[in-house]
Symmetry: C2
Subunit: 200 residues, 2 copies
């Protein structure tokens, strides 16, 4: 037959077109200007067709949240050299995180935007759990280097992510009065302080 296969292929192709057109719109006009009608226009289909592929608009943004966390995971993994010292690996982790945000700022926006209902869609994303695992194991390893100090690893896990997010969010916010110091430098500084806070 092959006919139903072709149909399914075409169905998936259309889904991809929705995704790619959405990506372009967001890239050029930002999340606020992404609309179902614009997508429909871009894929040259009528509006209701989109609802055959995505339950609603939020499901489209949720896709990008998912994709974003996958990219974040890949970027972090790509930056970590498992032969390096644990201290260096923390810097590498930071740089991976930073480079992700630099490469995919729109993804970062929708992943971590405050007040946007996409926070919900971050739940049940497998990549987060993997990232979480990397973070925690590195913290554990670093903690072992300083057996004298009682270290709350749960707390440290949270602060690590806070630090990373803080630096990156500031870069994206471009708050007034803040000189354009290189964010990578700021992140290096912050991670350095973080590592020291565990070691000393």
């Amino acid at each position: 037959m092959g006919v139903s296969e072709r149909k399914q292929r075409q169905h998936e192709e259309l889904r991809n077109q929705i995704i790619e057109c959405s990506r372009e719109i967001v890239e050029e006009e930002g999340w606020a200007n992404l609309s179902i009608r614009k997508i429909a226009d871009a894929i040259e289909y009528s509006v209701p067709v989109i609802y055959k592929h995505f339950e609603n608009k939020e499901a489209i943004t949720a896709y990008f949240v998912q994709e974003g966390f996958q990219n974040l995971l890949n970027e972090v993994l790509a930056h970590i050299d498992s032969n390096a010292s644990i201290e260096d690996r923390f810097q590498q982790l930071g740089m991976g995180y930073y480079h992700f945000a630099e490469k995919f700022p729109k993804h970062y926006e929708v992943m971590f935007g405050l007040g946007i209902p996409t926070c919900e869609s971050a739940r049940n994303v497998e990549s987060i759990n993997q990232l979480s695992g990397i973070f925690r194991s590195m913290i554990k390893e670093l903690s072992h280097k300083n057996p004298n100090k009682e270290i709350d690893q749960c707390l440290k896990y949270r602060t690590l992510w806070s630090l990373l997010h803080g630096v990156v969010a500031f870069e994206l916010l471009a708050l007034p009065g803040v000189n354009p110091v290189c964010s990578a430098k700021a992140l290096e500084d912050v991670v350095d302080g973080y590592v020291k806070s565990i070691l000393f």
Copy 2:
């Protein structure tokens, strides 16, 4: 006459009503559900009346950004005991920042929300400059305690704000997989590391 005075008073009263009704709506339904028509309904006037008091909807949110930074400044000032040591004052600053976000989460959202066009409206807010001044002078003072180390104060200013924002943003995002460690504790931890990164 006093008649034009009364008119102006009534005009200002209506403006206040717009603000207070907006505050209530945002408190109960969030920023996404704040609409001109809902405000008009609440103040029991027709829609165009609102445009006599605010140029557009963004001007309303801009008002809250302004108010937010004023509150943030007040909260920070209230927490800092000028007789305390510089190390303690950094902790106090952090706590002031944190308590502001705790008391006014909706303000924090609109002040620092990513991707929301209100970032623009943060420019030209006088309170930011005052806050900025406090941050910088404290960094300067702490740096003097360690004359051996060459400290990039511009960088430290940026990282300080990143740290504060990072912790608070995480609290508000309530990201999955992150145990509900007390944010105040996380902030204390972070500020401690920050101070040490300057002193040692």
